[in-house]
């Protein structure tokens, strides 16, 4: 890219100024808002935290009955239908251990496991028709496998190409197919 001329530069700076929103007043923001420093988490962290939480909730419910299970309404704030029923105080007087048993039974048998981000992932394929083998280089039909690099290939011309690949490249091809070796 050629270095910008001064006139060009000025126009560009003006454009930048018009696009930049850092100095625009934002009256809709709470001036006292201080975000947490460590609020950015990646998917893996979020999932592992969520599953740990689920497991611990299950354990406490199973052992102590710390939460108050109910058949119609739960008022702990995580399960609230749109209409929001009033808390049923009479529940508290029922026998806790019976309620815990009931709840556990319901959790395991009646509705099956709860729907979470992880368990709605579709299962691996079992249909052999979808396991067709394709050439790793060209994407064409790949009936052969090179025993040395484990690459699938279409014909002898592609095989020649495979054998001429530099070190490490076959691994990249395997990676595109998710068949590479991961060293841990």
């Amino acid at each position: 890219m050629p270095p910008p001329t001064p006139a060009n530069d000025e126009a560009h700076q003006q454009l930048l100024n018009s696009l930049d929103i850092s100095h625009v007043p934002k009256p809709f923001r709470n001036p006292h808002w201080k975000p947490s420093q460590r609020r950015n988490k990646n998917l893996k962290q979020i999932i592992s935290e969520a599953s740990r939480k689920e497991a611990s909730v299950m354990a406490t419910q199973a052992n102590s009955g710390a939460t108050t299970p109910g058949t119609s309404a739960v008022t702990d704030g995580t399960r609230t239908p749109a209409e929001g029923a009033a808390p049923n105080l009479s529940q508290a007087t029922q026998n806790l251990s019976t309620l815990v048993l009931e709840k556990n039974a319901r959790a395991t048998f009646a509705t099956g496991p709860a729907v979470t981000y992880t368990n709605i992932e579709s299962a691996p394929s079992f249909n052999p028709a979808y396991k067709h083998r394709y050439c790793d280089i060209t994407g064409l039909d790949g009936p052969y496998t090179d025993p040395k690099t484990r690459l699938r290939y279409h014909d002898k011309e592609i095989f020649k190409v495979i054998r001429s690949l530099a070190q490490g490249v076959p691994e990249n091809y395997l990676e595109a197919r998710g068949a590479h070796t991961i060293l841990k």
């Binding site: 934002k26 809709f28 001036p31 808002w33 704030g77 709860a114 729907v115 979470t116 979808y130």
Partner: protein, 754 residues
């Protein structure tokens, strides 16, 4: 399962006619990619805010929080006012010494901002990973929507979309931002694909939502989503672009320009399509006929190395100058030759004079004069004069341009050789020795000549025999030639393999070489082979061959290479002449022609490739990739995703999870496609055709596509936000403060709590 289609097996491309004429193709149509998606300055649109002043409690800000585009507008709008990618570029400008912040397309404005680009979503997922970016995006949207706000809040209800089975943490953070940073009076969440379905008037059916980061299948009965039977495939438009990037980097490992994700996305959008019959189309994809239409050429910007084009005049001048200098040189040479000639003539004169004077002198005087001239005797003087005469004659001829005739050397006589030594005096003996030397010289020349003639006769004889065998026993002759050709080909192959193997440290060839080297280098006491005790290296000429096996590099087998190719040419020429089954297309040159090469078709399409051309070096060719990339959603194993494909997922949900035929029929009656990844040409036809494949023959199947697979989710959300359900399903600020940040109200278009 019923058989619903019959496939005929087509012969593979290998069986294609070897003699097929591969004609030249017209020059390719070039496609370009946009450098970066900067879209210029967008002014804010405050009129929406003005309009919302009338009903501040029901006019909601609707945000479809997509990982590809965040769409935003008012609930009374027909279309979203803004759609931006959820990216932010924030940095401190050192020159101006202040913080800069660019959002969405604006972040692509120049190289600095692009360098600081951050994405709001966790890579490859529909989950927000960077909340600073999310905040920036919301700031930008509220600014552009003209939100004036009051008391540090947006003052309008907010409706936002979230992924299916959103994580509690994500919702918690979003709630925190919306309620605490923007002080929203109320917030509702919903699922984008359900909004899209509602907008398109669906109540019972199967939603197939293939979007930027994931593909979902959601059964809906009585307008209620069946989350427990929902399935997700972790593949969408983003993964397609990433996959294409991987393929392109492998296909063109030395591509001179940087390939960006935005380029790949554009290529996927503009050039990829869903094949109706993948395996069949795939196998013919690189066939010569029609390849120019299937192969898309993407031209990247380049600068051609300018070769100084010289004008006619300049060329003429240069030629003239060259000729001039040549002439000058010639003149100089001629002058020098003339000078030499004159000198030689003078010398000749002098010697001739001397000879004449000698004739009249006494013997003693003669010897004295000769000695003074450094000559042995009169014979020497005579030889000298003869030599000079000859050379003068030769140079005269040359000057006059007379062709030098190979003059027969006069018959030499060696009379002295037959005379015994004792009959000669000292001078005679000397002369005899000289004559013997001359004689052996002449004899050797004669012998060489004879040898040459014999060789010629031998070759002629061989040719004659060869011709005879060809005429009398053609079969043997031709098979011999063919075998010969095969052997040469094999040798060429072996040679290539050998050189290739030497590059590989672990190959047998290089290990043998290392062994030889080690043997040569070790000079300590070696185990001698039985018998020989002393070093007899070199006794056999073949011993020196060891150095040839050790040497690596081009110099070592240069001669042989020339030889092999020459031999092959000769054999192929003969075969071409006499073998009726051997045609031009069988020669090695034709076999290795780029038009025959599958790899060439794959890399460069049906056009020749000039490695010098910068233009062609900056070209990407999309061919197989055009159907290979969108195919992954049907066959995830292609890209190594260990999940069932779209069709298998749909089949599983319909056939396995709904046993009631009535439910199945209701789902099949309305299969609804939405999301940006369904925009590929042929997606719905392929889906319809393949789903048909696992259904009973009389099943009613209706597949339809959203009227706008990208924006319908927002439109549906805006529509819903204008209705009564919205207020009932919103969490108010009061409820948030009371019940915590993970509190959610369930409704038909949103996630459920569990």
């Amino acid at each position: 399962m019923t058989i619903t289609s019959v496939q005929t097996l087509l012969p593979g491309r290998i069986a294609a006619n070897a003699n097929e004429q591969r004609t030249e193709k017209p020059p390719p149509q070039l496609h370009t990619v946009q450098d970066f998606p900067f879209k210029g300055y967008h002014p804010p649109q405050p009129e929406g805010w003005q309009q919302s002043q009338a009903h501040p409690d029901t006019s909601a800000i609707v945000i479809d929080n997509g990982s590809h585009l965040v769409k935003a507008g008012w609930s009374f709008d027909k279309n979203p006012r803004f759609a931006i990618p959820p990216v932010m570029s924030r940095y401190r400008d050192r020159k101006l010494n202040r913080q800069c912040q660019f959002i969405g397309y604006d972040a692509y404005v120049d190289a600095t901002t692009r360098g600081q680009l951050r994405n709001g979503f966790d890579p490859g997922s529909s989950v927000v990973g960077n909340w600073d970016v999310m905040e920036g995006v919301l700031d930008y949207l509220f600014l552009k929507l003209g939100v004036e706000g009051a008391n540090g809040g947006v003052g309008r209800p907010i409706l936002m979309t979230e992924p299916i089975a959103n994580m509690p943490y994500s919702r918690k953070m979003m709630n925190e931002i919306l309620f605490e940073c923007y002080s929203a009076p109320s917030v509702a969440y919903g699922i984008d694909s359900l909004f899209s379905y509602r907008y398109n008037g669906g109540t019972d059916g199967l939603i197939v939502d293939s979007s930027h980061t994931s593909t979902h299948i959601i059964p809906v009965l009585n307008s209620k989503p069946m989350f427990s039977n929902t399935s997700r495939l972790n593949w969408g438009g983003l993964q397609s672009a990433e996959y294409l990037m991987k393929l392109m980097k492998l296909k063109y490992p030395t591509f001179p320009t940087r390939l960006t994700d935005a380029h790949m996305e554009e290529l996927v959008h503009n050039h990829c399509y869903v094949s109706q019959d993948y395996d069949r189309e795939l196998n013919g994809f690189l066939d010569w006929s029609g390849l120019e239409d299937r192969d898309r050429v993407i031209q990247y910007p380049f600068t051609e190395h300018i070769i100084q084009e010289k004008t006619e005049e300049e060329l003429a001048r240069i030629a003239e100058r060259k000729k001039e200098s040549g002439r000058r040189l010639q003149e100089q040479a001629a002058k020098m030759r003339l000078e030499k000639l004159v000198k030689k003539e003078q010398e000749l004169e002098y010697w001739k004079d001397l000879q004449q004077t000698l004739a009249n002198e006494t013997k003693k005087e003669v010897r004295r004069i000769l000695e003074a001239e450094d000559l042995k005797d009169e014979a020497a003087l005579e030889r000298l004069i003869r030599e000079l005469e000859k050379s003068i004659k030769r140079s005269r001829n040359k000057d006059l341009g007379i062709e030098e005739t190979e003059e027969q050397p006069e018959e030499m006589t060696f009379p002295l050789l037959d005379i015994p030594d004792d009959q000669l005096d000292e001078a005679g003996l000397k002369e005899k020795r000289h004559q013997r030397l001359m004689k052996s010289n002449v004899d050797a020349r004669l012998r060489a000549k004879e040898e040459k003639e014999r060789e010629k006769a031998r070759v002629e004889e061989e040719e004659r025999i060869d011709r005879e065998t060809r005429e009398n026993d053609f079969e043997t002759w031709i098979s011999k030639r063919r075998n010969n050709r095969q052997a040469i080909l094999q040798r060429i192959k072996d040679r290539d393999r050998f050189t290739a193997d030497l590059g590989n440290r672990k190959s047998l060839a290089s290990q043998m070489r290392m062994k030889t080297l080690a043997n040569l280098a070790s000079d300590g006491p070696k185990k001698r082979r039985r018998g020989g005790d002393e070093d007899d290296f070199g006794a056999n000429d073949d011993d020196w061959g060891v150095y040839r096996t050790v040497a690596v590099g081009e110099a070592s087998d240069d001669e042989e290479e020339e030889d092999l190719n020459g031999m092959l040419d000769a054999v192929e020429k003969e075969l071409l002449e006499y073998d009726p089954e051997f045609s031009e297309s069988h020669t090695l040159a034709a076999q290795s022609d780029w038009k025959k090469s599958l790899v060439h078709a794959f890399l460069r399409g049906p056009w020749p490739f000039d490695p010098e051309s910068q233009r062609e070096a900056h070209q990407l060719h999309l061919n197989v990739e055009r159907i290979r990339v969108p195919e992954v959603v049907f066959k995830p194993s292609i890209a190594g995703v260990d999940q069932a494909g779209l069709i298998e997922m749909a089949a599983d949900i319909i056939n396995q999870r709904y046993t009631n035929p009535a439910d199945q029929a209701r789902l099949l009656k309305d299969v609804f496609l939405t999301g940006g990844n369904t925009l590929f040409t042929g997606f719905d036809e392929r889906f319809r055709q393949e789903v048909r494949g696992f259904l009973p023959i009389d099943a009613l199947l209706n597949v339809r596509k959203a009227s706008d697979p990208v924006f319908d989710a927002w439109k549906g959300a805006a529509q819903w936000a204008s209705g009564g359900d919205f207020a009932r399903s919103s969490v108010t600020r009061q409820e948030y403060l009371e019940k915590g940040s993970e509190y959610l109200k369930e409704h038909d278009l949103g996630n459920a709590t569990w």
